[in-house]
């Protein structure tokens, strides 16, 4: 809301500069976007929020400032009362659509120019000058916050000599040509003003072209109404027609204010256009019946942490226009007609706090302890695995939750969650895996980094439900699958979990070098080389990736392992070298060897290479006994067991 300062000063004798007033408003009432100067006028730009619709007017801001500075309000129109013997205009309306509907017929208008002062003020307040008859409605709207609409009464009479005005819902398929020249198709949820021939305005949103006031208009039918705010909001949004008027209709409007605005408009029509009241009609409630709100002195001070007296609270509320009475526990306050936002005790407390000054509120440390706070293993994993990865040379990235159009080319959009109102086609589908996003991040860095390691820990959104995934990617590193698997295994040792790997398929990963990660018989993720075709199109080489469901992992992971005593007897190391066919899985063999005999402490892969298409494996076994120093003789039976198992599993011992 743009407030020309000189206009404001007509209502309240402010001595401070516009800047100082802006500062005051921002500290005690509402946000101030800026105070600017334009053509000799200071303009305060207020960020009016939904609760304070009363501030969408010069008068409303003046009332507020009078309270803040403890000044008197200079002038405020009386509520309109029709002169005796005024012709009664018949109106039909429905209280659910319209709380109050008033029409004033103004006759005998002569065509005149909009006065300079009015034109300037409209400009400063951000409104376009049209013609005197329309400008007066806008001027009064800015001053009082009540939107008005002027119909050309002669044009209505031509359509419908009876001038039977009705406020009703639009009929399905009904159309109207609006002031902007467009034909609008209406919906039954829209409210229209209609005569017997059909709609002459979309209530609160825009008037009809058919009954538009022009320079030569002699008679005006002036409308002031309080429409159902939700209906106005829906219609204006659906039609994409949000105007100064429709915005005000979405807020709370008071009938008292409406009648004041009406009086002011009639005066201006008389003053500048020589118009006279020739008819009046109204239907609906003309008085606000404010609900009293109790303020408990104890509650006031316990919510603010202050020691404000009820006397002080009473002074503040009275200045703001509340009617106040004492009660046993504090006071009872009736909000003024223009404050539709005061409903709860807390609302009164805010009013008192504002005038008391937020600056003067005390600061107190909160001392309560919340007792029900169990350890959060997910948080533990999130923090520690991230730190471990960073320690292993991985850089954490954060990518958007959407799949780009390019990513969709690789993946297709089937099975993805889709936004109804995306910002752009690059942000329309939610990612169900981080693969393509982290790959994209890698590509951006690849021109500068021959090799690299990235990870992301964020939510992904598969259709079955969102979860936090830990995704890690490396590129430009030899044996990418085994390297990354080493990273994964190192991380998993910190969760004290055993995990298994089983072949898996994923269209974006290598047809062979891909495995699912299994913990406690549940799939918790996938690891694999990025499909060479995909890697190539992202200009990456030797690329592998894993993605873990961190929330699943947190269900099984343990923070603490169990201590294994360290035997005092020395370890003995022995290597076993053998050929092992690719079609036999090596992982399970290591597991089996480990459980062959108590003295086998460790089974490690010491060497792995390919010779004439055969896989050659060297395992290094660590033997150690709890009870004695092991001799070569002691180890003989164990050694034989190991060899037997290797052979049985398909291995061929190298000499």
């Amino acid at each position: 809301m743009l407030i020309p300062y000189s206009w404001l000063k007509e209502f309240v004798k402010l001595k401070a500069s516009a800047e100082a007033v802006g500062e005051k408003l921002s500290l005690a009432t509402i946000g101030v976007e800026e105070v600017k100067r334009e053509g000799g006028e200071a303009i305060i730009n207020l960020e009016v929020t939904y609760n304070r619709g009363d501030l969408l007017s010069i008068l409303g801001v003046a009332r507020e400032l009078a309270a803040l500075y403890n000044l008197n309000l200079q002038k405020e129109e009386e509520e309109f009362k029709p002169p005796a013997n005024t012709q009664n205009l018949v109106i039909k309306s429905d209280k659910d659509l319209c709380g109050l509907y008033t029409l004033v017929l103004i006759k005998g208008l002569s065509c005149q120019e909009t006065p300079d002062k009015m034109e300037k003020r409209l400009g400063h307040a951000g409104m376009r000058q049209i013609n005197l008859l329309a400008d007066i409605t806008n001027y009064v709207m800015l001053e009082y916050g009540q939107p008005l609409h002027a119909f050309d009464a002669t044009k209505i009479k031509k359509r419908d000599p009876s001038m039977s005005i009705e406020v009703r819902n639009a009929k399905r398929g009904e159309v109207i040509k609006t002031l902007d020249g467009l034909t609008r198709i209406l919906e039954p949820s829209d409210i229209v003003i209609a005569d017997r021939k059909g709609p002459i305005a979309i209530a609160g949103v825009m008037g009809g072209k058919d009954t538009e006031v022009e320079v030569g208009t002699k008679e005006v039918l002036l409308e002031a109404a309080i429409f159902n705010p939700i209906a106005i909001r829906r219609t204006s949004r659906r039609l994409g027609l949000r105007s100064e008027a429709s915005i005000r209709f979405e807020h709370y409007l008071s009938p008292e204010n409406l009648l004041k605005a009406l009086n002011q408009a009639i005066k201006l029509y008389h003053l500048y256009g020589s118009g006279e009241v020739g008819g009046f009609g109204q239907i609906g409630k003309t008085k606000t019946t404010p609900e009293p709100v109790n303020l408990d002195a104890t509650k006031l001070n316990s919510l603010l942490g202050t020691e404000i007296s009820i006397t002080e609270a009473r002074q503040h509320l009275t200045r703001l226009g509340f009617k106040v009475m004492s009660s046993t526990k504090g006071l009872i306050a009736w909000p003024p007609h223009f404050r539709g936002d005061i409903k709860h005790e807390e609302d009164l407390i805010e009013e008192v706090a504002r005038l008391h000054g937020y600056e003067d509120l005390p600061a107190t440390a909160p001392c309560t302890i919340a007792t029900d706070t169990p350890e959060n293993i997910f948080e533990y994993l999130r923090n520690n695995l991230s730190k471990l990865l960073a320690g292993m040379g991985f850089n954490e990235v954060k990518t958007y939750p959407f799949l780009t159009t390019e990513a969709l080319v690789h993946k297709g959009s089937g099975g993805l969650l889709k936004l109804r109102n995306p910002v752009s086609s690059e942000a329309e589908y939610l990612k169900d895996s981080d693969l393509l996003n982290i790959l994209n991040a890698a590509r951006k860095n690849a021109p500068r980094c021959e090799e690299g390691r990235l990870f992301e820990l964020e939510k992904i959104y598969p259709k079955e439900g969102e979860y936090f995934a830990l995704t890690a990617l490396l590129w430009g590193i030899a044996e990418p699958y085994r390297t990354l698997k080493g990273v994964l295994e190192a991380l998993l040792t910190k969760t004290h979990l055993n995990c298994d790997f089983a072949p898996a398929k994923d269209n974006l990963l290598h047809p062979s070098r891909t495995a699912k990660i299994i913990v406690n018989n549940k799939d918790v993720g996938i690891i694999g080389e990025v499909h060479p075709h995909l890697a190539k199109s992202y200009r990456l080489k030797d690329t592998a990736l894993f993605e873990l469901n961190l929330e699943s992992l947190a269900k099984y992971a343990r923070r603490w392992g169990i201590f294994t005593p360290i035997p005092p007897y020395p370890e003995v190391y022995e290597d076993f070298s053998f050929f092992f066919p690719y079609k036999k899985p090596l992982g399970p063999l290591l597991q089996k060897i480990k459980t062959l005999d108590r003295v086998i402490r460790e089974v490690e892969l010491a060497d792995l290479f390919e010779q004439k298409g055969e896989r050659s494996v060297t395992l290094r076994l660590t033997f150690q006994s709890d009870i004695k120093e092991l001799s070569s003789e002691d180890l003989k039976p164990v050694r034989e067991k190991v060899v037997k198992l290797i052979k049985k599993s398909g291995g061929k011992l190298r000499s």
Partner: protein, 337 residues
């Protein structure tokens, strides 16, 4: 060989010894467990008369002492030589170290850890709420029924009529109230989404922090203390904060929190847009309707909610001028943290 000859020979050998290893061998040869002098000493008791035993003892011990002294002196001499040699090695301590690959945590993760630690010290617990949220938890239960105009404050991304991408982390509020009993002290640092085109200052994906504290007698004075406490941790001890009235439908009273610009200290500069202050957080006392929606009696309990946008705060703190840097994975940016 008699004792004198042994001594003479030993001393000459010690003099010749050029390495600690040779010196060690000589020590063993004469003074070790089976060394020549050790053996001679062991044979003394076998001598027939007292006088001989006495004189032999004196002579052998004197030889032993002489050899020990010579060994010690020679050892010192060798160590000094070695020391002199080590001191003359060609070396440049300013040569760069061997490269060791180390990664990095995203600046927002580091900031999250910082914020979490800051409030964990006060007993707040980290919680989560869904990103794909119902209209109810994001709006309706926060005192914004459908068609509430205040919903315009959030340009929301929708999946369907009732499902949306949460537009703020405040969707934790009713969820946590329904799960717990007061006193409740929880916080959340997580992602939110809005209908915003990407530019240096806007992003459809951003981060938010929310703090919720519900108990008997929670007041705006607690809110003030928490604001001061946190903003001082972020911007330094001399930071000043101020409260302004601000409307959010789910709090009453509502508060906008400003921090004195850390660059110009309130004078007004380019970074704070010549305002002297940064609007940095939004807060307020939880609206009684919201407390009621959480299944808690607002007549007995009150609560505060406090939140801010970490992206923007970190941008101010570190002087980052484009929010997209956080989300585009450029290592030249990420490796700086």
């Amino acid at each position: 060989m008699n004792v004198e000859e042994i001594k003479k020979y030993a001393l000459s050998k010690i003099e010749e010894a050029g390495t600690p290893k040779k010196l060690e061998a000589l020590h063993l040869k004469y003074l070790g467990r089976k060394g020549q002098l050790t053996q001679l000493l062991a044979e003394i008791p076998e001598l027939p008369n007292v006088e001989d035993r006495k004189s032999a003892g004196i002579v052998i011990n004197a030889a032993k002492e002489a050899i020990e002294t010579a060994l010690r002196l020679k050892d010192l001499e060798l160590k000094n030589k070695e020391q002199a040699k080590l001191g003359k090695i060609k070396f440049d301590s300013t040569e760069p170290g061997k490269k060791f690959v180390v990664g990095s945590l995203h600046p927002l993760t580091q900031f999250r850890n910082f914020v979490r630690e800051t409030f964990e010290r006060l007993g707040f617990e980290e919680v989560y709420a869904p990103h794909i949220e119902t209209d109810d938890y994001n709006f309706g239960l926060l005192n914004m029924p459908p068609d509430h105009p205040a919903r315009d404050l959030w340009d929301t991304l929708y999946l369907t009529d009732r499902k949306l991408l949460r537009s703020h982390t405040s969707n934790i509020q009713v969820r946590e109230m329904r799960k717990r009993k007061p006193p409740i002290k929880v916080m959340s640092f997580d992602r939110c989404f809005r209908f915003e085109a990407l530019d240096p200052h806007h992003s459809h994906t951003f981060t938010q922090f929310d703090l919720l504290y519900i108990d008997k007698g929670v007041s705006i004075a607690h809110l003030k203390w928490l604001s001061d406490y946190f903003l001082k941790q972020v911007f330094g001890e001399e930071t000043r904060t101020r409260f302004r009235p601000k409307y959010y439908p789910f709090v009453e009273p509502g508060v906008g929190v400003d921090a004195l610009c850390p660059f110009c200290k309130g004078k007004g500069c380019r970074i704070c847009g010549y305002a002297g202050w940064f609007e940095i957080a939004g807060a307020g006392m939880v609206h009684p309707e919201v407390i009621k929606n959480g299944g808690i009696d607002p007549k007995i309990y009150s609560g505060l909610a406090w939140g801010f946008g970490p992206d923007r705060m970190l941008m101010i703190k570190l002087g980052i001028d484009d929010i997209r840097l956080f989300y585009e994975g450029d290592l030249r940016f990420l490796k700086q943290f």
